[in-house]
Symmetry: C2
Subunit: 313 residues, 2 copies
């Protein structure tokens, strides 16, 4: 079982308009709504790869009930933690040329009581989970070391932890020794200002030597600096499409690889990285953010240019 | 009792951002939600003037329940008509300079069964209402002569009808003989293309001689061409603020004037137009769209430059 945790879930709304003209009133031509957030995207990816998954989401208000109902209808298991604030929306406005402008609500503040409920539910769910994935932003009220706290709880229950976070939350989480973190280039630069990419990855690795750093390079694939070695995985052809959720697909594949490797131990990084780049590419090719296609993913995975960058130990 | 009907109610969401940059992701700094739509704004204006009001709104889904709960909490009476589709949102993005970009969802389609329910509830409510106000856009599925049909039903029940509609719905409604229509300049031009303002107003008056045409001139006040005469009402000082809902406030004051005049007959147009310009101005000065302030409205009404443009008959 893989547990996907999203502390700041959302209802993602997409508006289609002819043209975005600041200062004007726009007739929305088409409205799509989808229960979203990175944890939900990761869960959909894990499901596509055939592994059992549960999402743990703090949900509140009518919007929270809506997320729960939609995920249930879509067959994505959800363990809701009832919180006081209403679940947020994100709004993405897409014009006729495909240009997307996103408006991301911060999320309602999490109270101390909410945060206690979240930790309690989380600890109970960790017991039965081989891998725990912590994804995305945190709403106001979650302490800056909240992901570190959850990482420590999960590790104490014997789970491997993957963290997809940014800024101080990422640095604090590293200190709690997760199995893997997955920043992209901008997120890496944010936490290691002034360092080039190689030095920044090395700095993260030095901060937590047991943690694999898998750097997402967007259309250029992944760089994995791990306790077992360093690899570069690169798609052999450029893909055009909707990159939203591509990073979450990569995380899903990496979570599945960790799940399959446990409890035996050593993870097959070349296989894991091929799958991650393939599933990520299939997400780009799907028009709906966060959706993936397993057949496409397998075909893309077979074409990945995979190289070991260090000497095998 | 005044009945305010809005066939396309909405939850109005306002996002504050630093700067609207098309193609980018925006952190929303502040989120405000409010049950809205023009009929609700008119009802708030009527309440501010101390007259009993009910809103009749087709509502559906979790969003519909949300509108009902919020209006109940705000003390705005609502007669909901349960419909299949979910009540829509509108999203307005306001930047640090106060520039507003609006994204208006079209609304869920109204089924034939929904439309029957709406007419039935409407007819039942008209019996006890001296004035009926029909405001705003109609969702897909409402026939183009839907407002005309409702106007005929209301008149048959003895109510006076005010219509604030646009395009073909406005022209059809005129044919059913409402007491008043209130286009703005752009809406007038849309239904009378190629005519100057005076000719266009005359064309509407000719189409329904018993109907008063009150033309909203924005910051320049109102022009009223009525069966009783022609008047021009102009604010004596320019106001800066949020013009959203200012037209609805004017409609509210005109509805109250019709209510006070019934059943005795003649309406005191100079008083009605002063109140309309004053309440409208107070809406501009309120930061929240659709809100009004009675004290401010009375002070502004006293300053209105009001002139009769024809010879008294």
């Amino acid at each position: 079982m893989i547990l996907c945790v999203g502390l700041n879930p959302a209802i993602d709304i997409t508006y289609r308009v002819d043209r975005l003209a600041p200062g004007e009133a726009h007739r929305v031509l088409d409205v799509r709504r989808r229960a979203g957030g990175k944890a939900v995207n990761v869960a959909r990816g894990v499901q596509a790869l055939g592994v059992a998954v549960t999402t743990l989401l703090p949900l509140g208000g009518l919007e929270g009930a809506d997320v729960e109902a939609e995920l249930a209808a879509a067959g994505v298991p959800v363990a809701p933690v009832s919180v006081q604030g209403r679940t947020r929306h994100t709004v993405t406005v897409v014009d006729a040329g495909g240009e997307a402008s996103a408006f991301n609500e911060p999320g309602a503040a999490v109270s101390e009581a909410d945060w206690r409920s979240i930790r309690t539910s989380f600890a109970a769910r960790c017991a039965g989970s081989a891998v725990v994935v912590l994804s995305g932003s945190t709403p106001p009220g979650v302490p800056v070391d909240g992901y570190a706290e959850l990482t420590a709880i999960a590790r104490a229950e014997g789970a491997q932890v993957i963290v997809d976070a940014t800024g101080p939350a990422l640095l604090h989480a590293l200190d709690a020794g997760p199995a893997l973190v997955k920043p992209n280039v901008a997120e890496l630069a944010e936490v290691c200002p002034g360092l080039d990419t190689a030095a920044a990855v090395a700095a993260l690795r030095a901060r937590s030597p047991r943690t694999a750093v898998v750097l997402s390079l967007g259309a250029k694939g992944l760089l994995a600096d791990t306790p077992d070695g360093v690899w570069r995985a690169r798609p052999t052809r450029p893909l055009t499409g909707n990159p939203t959720g591509a990073g979450d697909a990569a995380v899903a594949a990496l979570a599945v690889a960790h799940h399959l490797a446990s409890p035996a131990g050593r993870l097959d990084w070349p296989v894991a990285l091929r799958q991650a780049v393939g599933l990520s590419g299939s997400a780009v090719l799907q028009p709906v953010a966060g959706a993936v296609d397993l057949d496409v993913a397998l075909a893309l995975a077979a074409q990945v240019d995979l190289r070991r960058l260090d000497l095998p130990r």
